[in-house]
């Protein structure tokens, strides 16, 4: 220990905040640095104790006595700043916990989604495989063909809605982006096109496809460029431009101009004059496509048009 006279002056505090004691220490025999270290430690401990005391003092308690109130206030003032710091720390810790748990949920979800899509694709390939076809034929006796065909169609629709796993992007395909995109498009759209009678408007196909791609959308220009490559790549679909400028995706095998023209001609013969709206309803196709089909029939010389202000 240090031997030194300690002259203490206790100045009485007039205001509670200024309550303090001044002590002068003189070290005649040295030891000031050790004392300084010991003092610092003691002060830190005291600060910690004051925080704890401040916490106790913070709890809302009605202080009936004014002096009691003053003392409590003094303690609070002393621990005020540290309380703020402590609160900030606590908030940050709580936020961290929330974030961690939140992201943990999301990770679990995406992991599950990947699994689901993988499973769906696996089932899809199984559906299309020859083994499955054989099985279907074998099972034909147990349930009606119509019912099983309906179920298969429904399942295909679910697959369409489910989306596409690992879509083609510029990053993944690079220079052959449009070719790869064309192949993916053809795969995806084949069913849809054949369901819609062999022809779909380009805009409808674009919307459907982008919806399936969900997060990595395709630019319209890229979409059209990919479609233009169908023929060159020997794929089953074609991009067709009608005289009016309308673009459509067609399956040449199922959509025949002559057939369409005949069909429209038959409508006119049975129903009399038909408008594009009528044709759209009869053919279950968009209005723009209905107009094109009427045009086809007109160019074939099977029908004539009636234009008026009505």
């Amino acid at each position: 220990g240090s031997t030194g006279e300690a002259a203490s002056e206790a100045s009485a505090a007039e205001t509670p905040e200024a309550a303090g004691v001044v002590i002068k220490l003189s070290f005649r025999g040295g030891g000031s640095s050790q004392f300084y270290t010991a003092l610092k430690e003691a002060l830190n401990e005291a600060a910690g104790a004051a925080e704890a005391a401040g916490a106790a003092a913070d709890s809302p308690r009605a202080a009936p006595d004014a002096r009691e109130q003053a003392r409590a206030q003094a303690q609070r003032a002393g621990g005020g700043i540290s309380t703020i710091v402590r609160t900030a720390h606590a908030t940050e810790r709580a936020r961290d916990v929330t974030l961690q748990s939140g992201f943990a949920d999301l990770e679990a979800l995406t992991a599950a989604a990947d699994e689901m899509v993988g499973l769906a694709e696996h089932i899809a390939t199984q559906l299309h495989s020859p083994a499955a076809a054989k099985l279907r034929r074998a099972a034909a006796g147990s349930e009606s063909d119509a019912a099983s065909a309906a179920r298969v169609d429904a399942f295909r629709q679910y697959l369409l809605d489910l989306g596409i796993d690992s879509p083609v992007t510029k990053d993944s395909a690079g220079a052959v982006f449009h070719e790869e995109l064309a192949r993916e498009l053809c795969d995806y759209l084949e069913n849809y096109v054949s369901q819609r009678g062999g022809t779909v408007a380009l805009v409808d196909a674009y919307c459907l496809y982008n919806r399936a791609r969900e997060f990595s959308l395709v630019y319209p220009s890229d979409f059209v460029q990919a479609c233009r490559r169908f023929e060159a790549l020997g794929l089953s679909l074609r991009l067709r431009e009608y005289p009016s400028g309308l673009l459509a995706i067609e399956d040449p095998a199922t959509a025949s101009d002559a057939q369409i023209a005949e069909r429209i001609g038959a409508y006119v013969q049975s129903f009399g004059p038909v408008t594009a709206n009528d044709v759209a309803a009869l053919e279950d196709c968009p209005l723009t496509l209905a107009e094109e089909r009427l045009g086809l029939c007109e160019r074939a010389g099977l029908i004539c048009r009636d234009e008026s202000v009505e």
Binding site: P273, E298, R299, G301, C304, R305, D306, E307, S308, E310
Partner: protein, 188 residues
């Protein structure tokens, strides 16, 4: 042969006239050719019935036969122009009006000028009026021609017919102060 206008019998419009698309210029070329042919026949027949030759395209589309109020359809002006153009190429019409102006007024020859020319020549020869100067007025409205088909023919068509005769070398025209005064000498 009737010399008055078709006042007795009403002009019989063909069935196609009640077919609304008949009044729409068809984009399909083959269909249009057929449509145009039918319109040409209709125009000539109509003019023949009413012994009318002059046609103003812009006004004509507002009246029958180019408008059919019953089915609320009318031919468009440029479509009628196309029909008249076809008639001109067949020799059944001629555009009148100043050169270079928009084609609006025309003459429809429900009988070709060459045919009139032959009839005029025949009449002159029969009456022994060859080599005498006759006026248009005499030919169209004279008592001597009362029983002729060309009696009452409009001056424009009559003039063209005489011009045709002149170009065949069978007549000579002399300009007068007006169309009525126009003189012609028909040779034998």
């Amino acid at each position: 042969m009737a010399t008055g206008g078709g006042a007795g019998a009403r002009f019989q419009l063909p069935e196609i006239h009640s077919f609304p698309p008949f009044f729409t210029r068809q984009p399909n070329e083959d269909t249009w050719k057929e449509q145009r042919r039918l319109w040409c026949d209709l125009v000539v027949a109509f003019c023949r019935h009413h012994r009318r030759s002059a046609l103003a395209v812009a006004e004509a589309v507002n009246e029958p036969p180019f408008s059919n109020p019953r089915i609320r359809r009318a031919l468009r002006v440029d479509t009628l122009r196309e029909v008249v153009d076809e008639l001109v190429s067949q020799g059944h019409a001629a555009w009148t009006g100043p050169k270079g102006s928009v084609r609006d007024t025309c003459l429809v020859f429900w009988r070709k000028p060459e045919v009139w020319a032959a009839m005029l020549h025949q009449w002159a020869a029969d009456r022994g009026l060859c080599n005498t100067v006759l006026t248009l007025y005499e030919l169209a409205n004279g008592d001597d021609t009362a029983d002729q088909e060309f009696h009452g023919l409009d001056y424009a068509t009559l003039r063209r017919s005489l011009e045709a005769l002149q170009s065949q070398g069978r007549a000579q025209l002399f300009a007068g102060s007006s169309d009525e005064d126009l003189g012609v000498k028909i040779f034998t």
